[in-house]
């Protein structure tokens, strides 16, 4: 196969990781959404590359799906949400950014260590990127932990989904179509439900600060 493709895939992978870090450190909520959209774009791009390189046609389908869902629909929904909920404030994080970066780096190292031994088994051209996918997942996990508002948490959740998809395409050439459809459906429904939720929360607490959601506890 063509080394160009490998390089391209690795490039997109790097872009995804970079975006993940950017999201981790991003304070502004609108910017977060844009970053998320970009990550989706990178994901689509890498998927397309893989499809193109390997002629796995069903990957085009999943790429289209990804594009539709993660670059168009979800960001749009999020936009509408925050406009309707009029939340444009800065997102303060629970621990300060540099520390988070450091932790993030440690995570990346850890993820690479985990992925290294098994990625050799992959026949995929994108085998090197499994570690990056795992890193993305862990980073978005970290982001969910450290954000104290509802919307950023949701975004973190979604970018975790991105990481998973990236893993699916990089490690294996995508999951079976029926599974991918199911997953996409779930994500979509989940997004809708989340929207409903955010409204409910909003009307209850007239704020989306999840500090309000700490009543149920053992005392």
């Amino acid at each position: 196969m063509n080394p160009i493709h490998v390089q391209l895939v690795n490039l997109f992978a790097a872009a995804m990781l970079l975006l993940a870090f950017a999201m981790l450190s991003q304070r502004r909520i609108l910017a977060l959404i844009h970053l998320y959209a970009l990550q989706g774009l990178a994901l689509t791009a890498s998927t397309v590359t893989v499809a193109w390189a390997t002629g796995q046609h069903h990957l085009y389908g999943s790429a289209a799906l990804t594009f539709a869902l993660k670059v168009v629909v979800l960001p749009w929904i999020l936009h509408r949400l925050i406009r309707r909920l009029s939340v444009k404030w800065d997102v303060e994080t629970l621990i300060n950014i540099p520390t988070m970066m450091l932790v993030g780096i440690v995570l990346v190292v850890f993820a690479f260590n985990l992925a290294l031994p098994i990625s050799d088994f992959s026949r995929s051209i994108a085998r090197g990127t499994l570690g990056i996918a795992l890193a993305c997942v862990l980073l978005s996990f970290l982001m969910m932990i450290t954000r104290s508002k509802a919307v950023p948490q949701v975004i973190g959740f979604l970018s975790m989904e991105n990481g998973l998809f990236f893993a699916a395409t990089s490690a294996t050439y995508g999951m079976p179509m029926v599974v991918e459809l199911g997953i996409a459906l779930d994500v979509l429904v989940g997004m809708v439900i989340l929207g409903v939720f955010l409204f409910q929360i909003r009307e209850q607490f007239d704020s989306l600060d999840i500090h309000h959601l700490e009543k149920l506890r053992e005392d």
Partner: protein, 483 residues
């Protein structure tokens, strides 16, 4: 085959049907009718499997073997009884104004869809679909948890959604890795995720990948099982949702999640020649059992308390399946059955009690025996049963688990016994004054539906004293299947 189709189609149709019909006075009955149809279909399916052995269908996307057929039957059965219970319960809620017609409509349709997702998860052969179904099960219930729109219920639902969502995401990563491992053996065609195929080739799967995959699957599905320290969503969701939902969450969803875990464990055990998977499950199980026992003794909300008790019992089952071997697996399956029977029965009784008291705070519920003896006895007997008092089935399974543990992991036995003792003291010291003593409660407009309670307890009692041979044979096959 047709039975399988029915089992899946009926609740799906029910879900949409009830949504389309909208809220009407007969909706609870329709709901019950659909549940009954599902149960009938499940019975038919069971009958098929007993007579003709395992069934697969829709080019192997679905299959039913002794392991999941009894879970299907159990799920359909508890679903039916719960729908029966929820008739008077929900009517009372409506009269209290806690349920608007819109919410009732949501409740009924989602109830059916929830049943569908669980049955789908149980019957599917495709690990990917399994994941999809589990995620869908979360999505269908999350709105039911928050259906009262109280701050507490919203918070509970939010946590439920986020924590389980994240958990499930990890499970997806695990599934991807599983597929990654599988396609090297089975090739790229779609059946690389079919459990039956994987089961055949499990010994060739790459250990390094499988161990990683199993970790993600365990942590992922384990979140839904409610293993400590992944359990935090569980007490909130159980306590704040409507009681029928607590009953099915505790009695069924946790089972299904555990079912996913053990399916994965079978593959992992096959691929790894170490006891890694089993030990992991034992560790989580033990931790959950002990921690939950100590959580129990601080509870004031009754549904919350029994939610923790569910964590404890799930831990016990996980421990049992972790040990593996015919007896332990048998015990685990038996425990699954009796736990979901008894626990849902308890939630039924608790629901009525809480409605009478108008609160879920235990110190405000007193003297149930005075105001309605049957609820009181139901709660008392159910509690004693769940605490492992003979002659109920819970004791039988706990006896088997403990004795096996004594044999193979003697060190764990004292911990388990400690946990059981603490749990006993904690739960019983709270339930007894609720049942006994003078009362402050009042009567309810609708006659509580207690038949389900006593049917469940009766079955649990029977399982403690006498396990019908075909059921025993069934458990044994399933146990063998789990290795």
């Amino acid at each position: 085959m047709d039975a399988l189709l029915l089992v899946l189609a009926v609740p799906l149709a029910g879900g949409f049907g009830l949504w389309v019909l909208g809220e009407r006075d007969s909706a609870p009955e329709i709901n019950a009718a659909f549940s009954f149809a599902t149960f009938a279909a499940a019975a038919w399916l069971t009958e098929d499997v007993i007579s003709t052995g395992p069934v697969t269908g829709f080019d192997e996307q679905f299959f039913v073997d002794p392991l999941n057929v009894f879970l299907v039957a159990l799920t359909a059965f508890v679903g039916l009884t719960t729908s029966l219970f929820s008739r008077p319960y929900m009517r009372t809620e409506r009269d209290k104004g806690r349920m608007t017609p819109a919410r009732l409509r949501l409740y009924h349709s989602m109830y059916q869809l929830f049943m569908f997702t669980m049955l789908l998860a149980l019957t599917t052969n495709n690990m990917g679909i399994l994941w999809v179904a589990m995620e869908a099960a979360t999505l269908t219930t999350v709105l039911l948890v928050s259906v009262y729109r109280t701050p507490a219920s919203l918070e509970a639902a939010w946590k439920y959604f986020i924590l389980c969502g994240v958990g499930i995401a990890q499970a997806l990563f695990g599934t991807i890795l599983l597929y990654f491992a599988a396609e090297r053996v089975l090739g790229r065609q779609g059946d690389a995720l079919l459990w039956t195929h994987l089961d055949v080739v499990k010994h060739q799967l790459e250990p390094a990948i499988m161990s990683l995959a199993f970790v993600f699957l365990l942590v992922g599905y384990g979140t839904k099982v409610g293993l400590v320290p992944l359990h935090n969503w569980l007490p909130d969701a159980h306590a704040e949702g409507p009681t029928p939902i607590s009953a099915v969450l505790s009695g069924l969803l946790l089972n299904v999640a555990l079912y996913c875990v053990i399916r994965c464990k079978v593959l992992a055990e096959g691929a790894l020649d170490s006891r890694f998977a089993g030990d992991m499950m034992m560790g989580f199980g033990l931790l959950s059992t002990v921690a939950a026992a100590f959580f129990l003794s601080r509870q004031r909300d009754i549904k919350r308390m029994f939610a923790y008790s569910s964590i404890e019992h799930m831990g016990l089952m996980t421990f049992a399946f972790g040990m593996g071997g015919p007896i332990a697996n048998f015990a685990g399956l038996l425990h699954m059955t009796v736990h979901s029977l008894v626990k849902s029965a308890i939630f039924f009784a608790v629901g009525h009690a809480a409605q009478k008291a108008g609160t879920q705070l235990m110190e405000e519920i007193r003297g149930l025996l005075r105001v309605s003896p049957r609820v009181g006895w139901g709660l008392m007997i159910g509690t004693l049963a769940i605490l492992g008092m003979p002659p109920f089935g819970v004791f039988a399974s706990e006896f088997l688990i403990l004795t096996t543990a004594m044999r193979e992991h003697a060190w764990a036995t004292p911990l388990l016994l400690l946990a059981l003792g603490v749990a006993f003291a904690a739960i019983f010291s709270r339930v007894q004054p609720m049942v006994f003593g003078e009362t402050t409660l009042r009567r309810l407009p609708y006659q509580p539906a207690l038949t389900p309670v006593f049917v469940h307890l009766g079955l649990a009692l029977m399982l403690g004293l006498y396990i019908p041979p075909y059921l025993a044979a069934w458990y044994q096959q399933a146990a063998k299947l789990l290795g």
